[in-house]
């Protein structure tokens, strides 16, 4: 293979190309679907997981109350209907369903699950922290009360916080490795930690249209090449691609599809440190960075962006495109001058010690050098990044991938609100704080969209201490037999309804 094939490079634009859809009647119901991902699971108990990625391994086993589809729209699941009334939400449950251990699925069990999810020490505690009360209205109805607004709950109940597990196994520590109290389409039939998870379909699933294979296998391999090779060699059916694997996958004759995600690369600044408390400085940084170059380094899999989420998401301001921050070193210099920093300044940025992040950091470093800002790069592993920036607050800045939370309010609070985890400098803006409260109380998505448009405009005006670089798109690759794979914008990897051609 020659070096020239990938030199289309910076011309490539992020695009959307759907993966092959399910064609009715062509599937093999006894087939096995194999997915290969980069990191493994941490627990099979929805309250005991320790990473967001782990949820992926739980979706086949546990159904949640609400389902968020690939584009981010809520759909019914274990709750066939719900209504929101300001600060409370009422859910109507599906009838005649049992947990895998035979315990009936009813309102009492839902309340028990929600109470367990929001108890101290649960992974989901934070997501449900606004919930004040859960009541059983009747056998099929549950009501949830919140302190600030029930709107964000819809999305939250589509995550691990809405997953339902048989109450009879709540206290069984073995669930972490051998779950038996699931409520979803599959049960766990084999597990090799760090390398392989095997699921077998349950009989008489309540939604037979969403179950089209007999087995699913999730493999784990941290290496990009390896994952691609597995798909090429047939050891796996589907995997996600990193930029560098895109061309090889195409060359190998595999199906490649792509969709925008809610994840973005961003730099968070500690406003207590360095010169970041000055708005001009933050603005200058935004102008100094050449987002197009960054996009090129990612091979076009990260679209330049100027706000927290891509414009396609409901919580965004469609006017705030990357063009709001064109690459303009002169303007950056002027701003720095205005801030009294004619000679620039120096700071240290921690980045995740993965190759791509470091490459991006190096480009940024070169950009900033041009406007007289010296940025030192310290690569650290992902756990330490949070520790240094958010807990011990020793880092000046950090660059990482921000993955979507179930609801925009969570991320907003983390970055823009005083006391937020990713806001070690306790930066705040009264307008944003106010709009955030408003957004949480919004009854409908439309209503909330309006609020968030205002919020992000305010964020732009105040120049939040969080420099969004670009929004990622996710490419998947698969062999020609796979049907019905959807790429979820929120980066949850769900394969509900996937099928294999006969």
């Amino acid at each position: 293979s020659g070096g020239s094939s990938s030199t289309g490079k910076s011309e490539r634009k992020a695009e959307t190309s759907a993966c092959p859809a399910y064609e009715k009647g062509t599937n093999d119901p006894s087939a096995t679907f194999t997915w290969i991902y980069s990191v493994g699971n941490t627990s099979f108990d929805p309250d005991k997981i320790t990473t967001n990625n782990s949820q992926m391994y739980l979706y086949p086993i546990y159904d949640s109350l609400v389902h968020i589809d690939a584009k981010g729209n809520p759909e019914p699941m274990l709750a066939k209907k719900w209504s929101i009334d300001g600060k409370s939400m009422t859910l109507e449950l599906i009838p005649n369903w049992k947990y895998h251990d035979g315990t009936p699925f009813d309102a009492a069990s839902v309340k028990a699950n929600l109470d367990r999810h929001r108890a101290a020490g649960s992974w989901n505690e934070q997501a449900l922290s606004d919930v004040t009360n859960v009541t059983v209205v009747d056998a099929d109805t549950v009501k949830i009360d919140t302190a600030n607004g029930a709107a964000p709950l819809v999305a939250v109940l589509a995550s691990s916080a809405g997953m339902m597990m048989s109450p009879s196994v709540f206290d069984d520590p073995n669930q972490a490795l051998t779950p038996t109290g699931g409520s979803g389409a599959f049960t766990l039939s084999g597990y090799t930690p760090g390398s392989k998870v095997e699921y077998t379909a349950v009989k008489n699933y309540w939604s037979p249209d969403d179950l089209r294979v007999a087995k699913m296998v999730y493999l784990v391999s941290g290496d990009d090449n390896a994952r691609l090779n597995s798909v090429i060699s047939g050891a796996a059916d589907t995997t996600f691609l990193r930029a560098s694997m895109y061309d090889p996958a195409k060359q190998a004759g595999l199906v490649v599809c792509e969709a925008p995600s809610l994840s973005s690369y961003q730099i968070a600044l500690n406003t207590e440190k360095s010169e970041f408390s000055k708005k001009e400085v933050r603005q200058a940084l935004n102008y100094a960075i050449d987002r197009k170059s960054l996009a090129a380094v990612t091979n076009g899999f990260c679209e330049p962006g100027g706000q927290m989420y891509p414009e396609s998401y409901f919580a965004s301001d469609p006017d705030l495109t990357a063009d709001k921050y064109p690459y303009d070193p002169q303007k950056a210099k002027d701003l720095l001058k205005k801030a009294g920093l004619t000679n620039g300044f120096e700071f240290t940025m921690e980045v995740i010690n993965l190759d791509l992040y470091q490459q991006l950091a190096e480009v940024i470093q070169a950009n900033l050098q041009e406007v007289g800002v010296k940025m030192n790069i310290v690569p650290v592993e992902i756990n330490k990044l949070a520790d240094d920036f958010s807990v011990s607050k020793t880092a000046d800045a950090q660059m990482s991938e921000q993955k979507a939370e179930s609801d925009p309010s969570i991320q907003i609070e983390s970055y823009y609100i005083k006391g937020g985890f990713n806001n070690p400098g306790n930066w705040s803006d009264p307008e944003i704080t106010k709009l955030n409260e408003e957004g949480k109380a919004g009854a409908t998505t439309d209503e909330r969209a309006k609020t968030y448009k205002k919020l992000y405009k305010a964020a732009y005006d105040a120049v939040v201490p969080d420099i969004v670089l670009c929004h990622l798109t996710t490419p998947f690759t698969m062999n020609k037999k796979v049907m019905g794979v959807e790429i979820f914008a929120d980066a949850t990897r769900q394969f509900r309804g996937v099928a294999i051609k006969k």
């Binding site: 293979s1 493994g40 699971n41 941490t42 627990s43 005991k48 320790t50 990473t51 967001n52 101290a120 020490g121 992974w123 505690e125 934070q126 972490a176 490795l177 090799t192 930690p193 760090g194 390398s195 784990v220 391999s221 941290g222 290496d223 090449n225 390896a226 090779n229 597995s230 060699s233 050891a235 010690n353 592993e381 992902i382 756990n383 330490k384 949070a386 520790d387 958010s390 807990v391 939370e405 969570i410 609070e413 983390s414 937020g420 985890f421 990713n422």
Partner: protein, 314 residues
């Protein structure tokens, strides 16, 4: 021999204890707190503290060590902070990969190295000797990870005849097992092979000039017998020594190679858990590795007794 084994074993155990203490303190005294990662994506300080308390990080250091050590005696090395897996069983589940890899690599290195060294050492100064010597120098200098990359390039990318990554169990499919391991094993084997060849050459060449070889010749023994009986056994001691050293180094190399070839072995486990600050896992893996290496040293030591009867008494 048994007695020698006993003596050496008795010397190994205190060593292992000291090593265990070193491992434990090294990892626990490391800055950086796994509790932060464990407390979730956007945790509060209270949550972090709660996690810390739960994991016993707030106990006095020596007490923590004592608990860990006594548990270790019952083959209980704790559980992974992140996956909840039992450390001991994760080690066991990953052991076959690393053992397969090291075993295959060492086997390749030993067989090819000794054969090459023997051929060269029996004809010092000949063209084959010079070729082997230069080859060995180059072999020692080649970075094993680079060799791995180049082999991948040659045999997995340019001519895709071998898989570049992943592992298949020996019992699942021996042929696939071999196919998946041959590139990583070969990369790991090159340097030790060269070192062993060099050492074998040197000691065979030296031994062949020893007086007792002349004695054996003077007895009228056949050339084959002189080499096979009198030369080899004496030449073996330094070869076994470098074999031990190389085995140790090779186990270190698995960390990089497993990372490169995505083999779910101990090296990968060690590397990943070091960076996740998964203390129990790191401690367990390091302790296990140390024990493994001590075992290799022990075997090497005891084998001296076979090759060199002088040592048997000591």
């Amino acid at each position: 021999m048994l007695r020698l084994f006993g003596t050496r074993l008795a010397m190994t155990i205190p060593l292992l204890l000291v090593v265990s203490f070193l491992i434990y303190s090294l990892i626990v005294l490391v800055p950086g707190d796994p509790a932060v990662a464990l407390a979730g994506q956007n945790p509060t300080p209270d949550q972090i503290e709660a996690v810390r308390e739960k994991l016993g990080f707030n106990d006095p250091f020596l007490l923590q060590y004592w608990h860990w050590l006594t548990d270790a005696f019952h083959a209980d090395l704790g559980k992974s902070l992140f996956t909840g897996e039992d450390v001991w069983s994760s080690i066991l589940s990953r052991l076959p990969v690393t053992l397969s890899l090291t075993f295959l690599a060492l086997l390749l290195a030993a067989i090819l190295g000794v054969a090459l060294g023997l051929v060269a050492g029996l004809r010092p100064g000949s063209w084959i000797d010079r070729l082997a010597t230069v080859g060995a120098s180059v072999g020692v200098a080649l970075p094993y990870f680079w060799v791995g990359m180049i082999l991948v390039l040659l045999f997995a990318i340019n001519n895709p005849i071998l898989p570049a990554t992943s592992y298949v169990g020996l019992t699942d499919n021996p042929f696939e097992w071999f196919k998946h391991l041959i590139i990583p094993a070969l990369s790991l084997a090159i340097a030790p092979m060269a070192v062993i060849a060099r050492q074998t050459r040197a000691s065979v060449a030296t031994v062949m000039t020893e007086d007792y070889i002349r004695t054996a010749d003077a007895k009228g023994l056949t050339r084959k017998r002189v080499i096979a009986k009198h030369a080899l056994k004496n030449a073996a001691v330094p070869v076994v020594t470098v074999f031990g050293i190389e085995a140790n180094r090779l186990i270190g190399g698995t960390v990089v190679i497993e990372q490169l070839f995505v083999l779910p072995g101990l090296g990968q486990l060690a590397y990943q858990s070091v960076f996740a600050r998964d203390f129990p896992m790191v401690q367990g893996v390091l302790l296990f590795t140390a024990a493994l290496i001590l075992l290799i040293n022990l075997i090497v030591d005891v084998s001296y007794g076979y090759f060199n009867p002088r040592i048997r008494k000591a």
